[in-house]
């Protein structure tokens, strides 16, 4: 298993290099100008100087290798320094955002907690809702519970989050006035009352995203349970005289969780990526919003770096999913 993991990690390096190049070229080829968002009163020759100072006029590959060097060498060292306090920080520049003129990593670190908090909670809530629903739907296949569950998950599946988000705002924030429509990231929980405020403002984004995640995972859970419920070993378990609870929750569920856990692991990078649209709808200033603003402003270093970090996470969690498969299913060996 260890050799397999190491081999996969080494193989990931060329993959990631290729991904970074593709991202870079796509972003570069798009006709965006980092000075376009600046006031129109700035004369053209000043604009040209600004472009010059940003290095936009260099050949594309020069720009790419400059970025790559900063990304794989300078930034990790800075990260280590800021975490441990060791003086390993290299001399030289960092990846700087065109828009804010601050290091991109600092921007990401500022926005990461909000995204993890909101989107991560919704993911966990989604899983917690989805697993029992999937188990019961499969155990009572074609029952009313199953039909209703299928209907709701189809709904959650097919209705996009920008629609459910706005719908929730109209119903619960505007009409009923139960919850605020905007997620206030500066809110600090200090006592019970502020906790209630936090709970109220997080409910809507979590429910919108949780509905979407839950409908996906509950489908997987149901299908996987149905697969296993008809297996011979379930009959063996019943013949052993185990209670129905043990048969379903120990024998069937444990075997059904194998594919579901991998699906859950594969979707984790999307948590870090933030639900771009949902963050916009509820005004959560997380990574997703950062990416949108950067795309709009032609802020190539931010777009490039954020997408590259997503790529790393996706590759890593793919590997994690494969390793988990091997851990959970004794029939799979990687040696």
């Amino acid at each position: 298993m260890l050799t397999y993991t190491i081999r996969r990690l080494i193989l990931a390096v060329p993959t990631l290099l290729f991904i970074s190049l593709v991202i870079f070229l796509i972003v570069k080829l798009s006709p965006s100008d980092p000075t376009a968002g600046l006031p129109l009163t700035i004369p053209p020759e000043v604009r040209e100087q600004i472009r010059q100072s940003l290095g936009v006029n260099d050949p594309v590959f020069v720009q790419y290798f400059k970025w790559l060097k900063l990304m794989v060498w300078n930034e990790p060292l800075h990260l280590i320094e800021s975490w441990t306090g060791w003086q390993v920080g290299p001399e030289g520049p960092r990846i700087i955002s065109y828009q804010t003129r601050s290091p991109v990593m600092d921007l990401i670190m500022q926005r990461m907690p909000q995204t993890l908090w909101v989107v991560g909670t919704s993911y966990i809530v989604g899983i917690l809702i989805a697993v029992p629903i999937g188990v019961i739907s499969a155990y009572r296949q074609y029952s009313i519970f199953d039909q209703v569950g299928t209907f709701i998950s189809m709904l959650g599946f097919s209705v996009p989050t920008f629609f459910t988000g706005v719908l929730f705002i109209v119903i619960f924030a505007v009409q009923l006035g139960w919850f605020p429509s905007v997620y206030d990231t500066t809110h600090v929980v200090t006592d019970w009352d502020s906790f209630v405020v936090q709970l109220k403002q997080i409910i809507m984004p979590v429910m919108v995203l949780g509905l979407y995640n839950a409908s996906q995972i509950s489908r997987f859970m149901r299908a996987s349970m149905l697969d296993n419920l008809n297996q011979d070993y379930v009959r063996t378990a019943r013949a052993k005289g185990l209670t129905e609870k043990v048969v379903v929750l120990v024998h069937v569920l444990r075997n059904s969780m194998i594919p579901v856990v991998t699906v859950i692991a594969l979707n984790v990078p999307s948590v870090f990526g933030g639900a771009i649209i949902t963050e916009q709808v509820f005004k959560v200033n997380g990574i997703g919003q950062l990416l949108i603003i950067a795309i709009q402003g032609g802020d190539i270093p931010v777009v490039q770096t954020v997408s590259f970090i997503f790529a790393i996470l996706i590759v890593l969690f793919n590997l994690l999913a494969d390793v988990l498969y091997g851990v959970l299913d004794p029939r799979i060996r990687y040696d």
Partner: protein, 424 residues
């Protein structure tokens, strides 16, 4: 040869029926039944092996599973060691359904009234304070549960006395059935699929022990090793997973698991069908050996007629959900009474090539009819070489035509007219 006269009946099956409903159409309406087992009766004596043979899809496996109550039978009685495993009679089943319904209604009524009173009191404001409300809610729930079980119990007692049903006629509850499981076990056909892929061998064999016996971990381990020795598995394998074994070894695991709780009765559902011929003999010898040592009773389901001849004391032949013939092994193989049995036996390959060339084979024409739509009269009338007019009209009764020889065929009734008269 098995001594039938002094033997005691361990398993009694009477008119067992197992129908699987067919749902079709947009609304999935109940439009028919697959009559997998359609009125099967037989007894198994303590210590004997009853072979159950027949072609694929005739209901052998379903019959074995239903006898062990892995399915809920449609009707019929099963008794193991004198204890009923299914509904003693249809009246008892009706009594149970009606009394359960009474319980549900009573509980619904009590809950509605209680919840209504509670809500009314809350709205009027005569109840305040968290503890008072919580207490009243608990009271309503308790009363509802009491009504659910109390009303069901009282109405069941009343119905039982009025309908003349006794406690013995009721099928065991799920819990009671579970506690009976140690006495009856099953060895499954597919040794790979019937073992949980995520459990180790020790886990598979030990699970019934921790469920049904109050053994300590140490005693359990000792018992697991004892069972592994009994079926000839190396003790070092205890922590391996099923996929790491060969087919024969897996079937040994299945047998060890079935033996774990010292059962009296084991249904062997084609235990050798998925195995290599060289391994088949090993497993069958193991089963015979264990029977001798532990005094087990087997229902041995197989389509391998030579193997059944080797292991069984008596043989039952099934065709399309019914037992057509049941007789002691030797007489059945030497002188089959039912035309289907004759055809089946003539299909057994002859090991001697010379005899093989000259063997007189009785080849049946046509296909097995669908168990969802069996023919009128005798089930075998569409393919029987000796079919008579009466066969197409009247289903032959399953009768003891000679001592210990049961057959369901009009050819063997001494008084065909009487049979016709009774059936009509």
């Amino acid at each position: 040869m098995f001594d039938f006269d002094s033997a005691r009946k361990l398993v009694e099956v009477d008119d067992l029926k197992m129908y699987f409903p067919i749902h079709t159409g947009l609304l999935r309406r109940h439009t028919g039944n697959v009559k997998a087992v359609d009125g099967v009766s037989f007894d198994i004596f303590e210590g004997e092996t009853l072979g159950l043979v027949g072609e694929s899809g005739c209901g052998k496996s379903t019959c074995g599973r239903t006898v062990l109550r892995l399915y809920e039978p449609t009707s019929g009685q099963i008794r193991l060691d004198g204890r009923g495993l299914a509904w003693g009679n249809p009246v008892a089943r009706r009594v149970r359904n009606r009394s359960d319904r009474v319980g549900n209604w009573a509980a619904g009524l009590v809950f509605t009234i209680g919840a209504g009173l509670l809500v009314g009191a809350l709205v009027r404001g005569s109840v305040t304070g968290g503890w008072a409300i919580a207490g009243l809610v608990a009271l309503v729930i308790a009363l509802t549960l009491a009504a659910l079980y109390g009303a069901a119990y009282v109405s069941r007692r009343m119905l039982m006395s009025s309908e003349g049903v006794s406690d013995k006629d009721f099928a065991p509850s799920e819990g009671a059935l579970r506690r009976l499981r140690p006495t009856m076990q099953m060895v499954f056909q597919d040794p790979q699929a019937s073992l949980n892929p995520r459990m180790t061998l020790a886990g598979i064999i030990g699970e019934p022990l921790s469920e049904h016996s109050g053994m300590s971990a140490k005693e359990r381990e000792a018992r697991i090793y004892e069972l592994m020795d009994a079926v000839g598995l190396n003790r070092d394998f205890a922590n391996r997973y099923p996929h790491e074994f060969s087919g024969g070894q897996r079937q040994r695991i299945g047998i060890a698991r079935a033996l774990a709780l010292n059962p009296k009765f084991i249904v062997c559902d084609e235990p050798i069908a998925a195995l290599d011929v060289s391994i088949q003999a090993q497993v069958v010898n193991l089963l015979e050996d264990l029977q001798e040592r532990l005094g087990l009773t087997y229902l041995f389901i197989s389509h391998d007629l030579s193997m059944v001849r080797h292991i069984a004391d008596r043989v039952a032949v099934m065709y399309l959900g019914k037992v057509v013939e049941l007789a002691p092994r030797d007489v059945l193989y030497d002188e089959p009474l039912h035309p289907y049995t004759r055809a089946l036996l003539s299909a057994v390959p002859e090991p001697d090539p010379a005899a093989h060339e000259t063997a007189q084979r009785e080849v049946l024409q046509g296909d097995v009819p669908s168990p969802a739509n069996p023919p009128k009269g005798c089930n075998f009338c569409t393919r029987c070489p000796q079919v008579m007019d009466i066969c197409r009209r009247i289903d032959p009764e399953y009768l003891e035509v000679q001592p210990r020889r049961f057959v369901a065929c009009h050819l063997h009734y001494e008084h065909q007219e009487t049979a016709e008269a009774t059936a009509a």
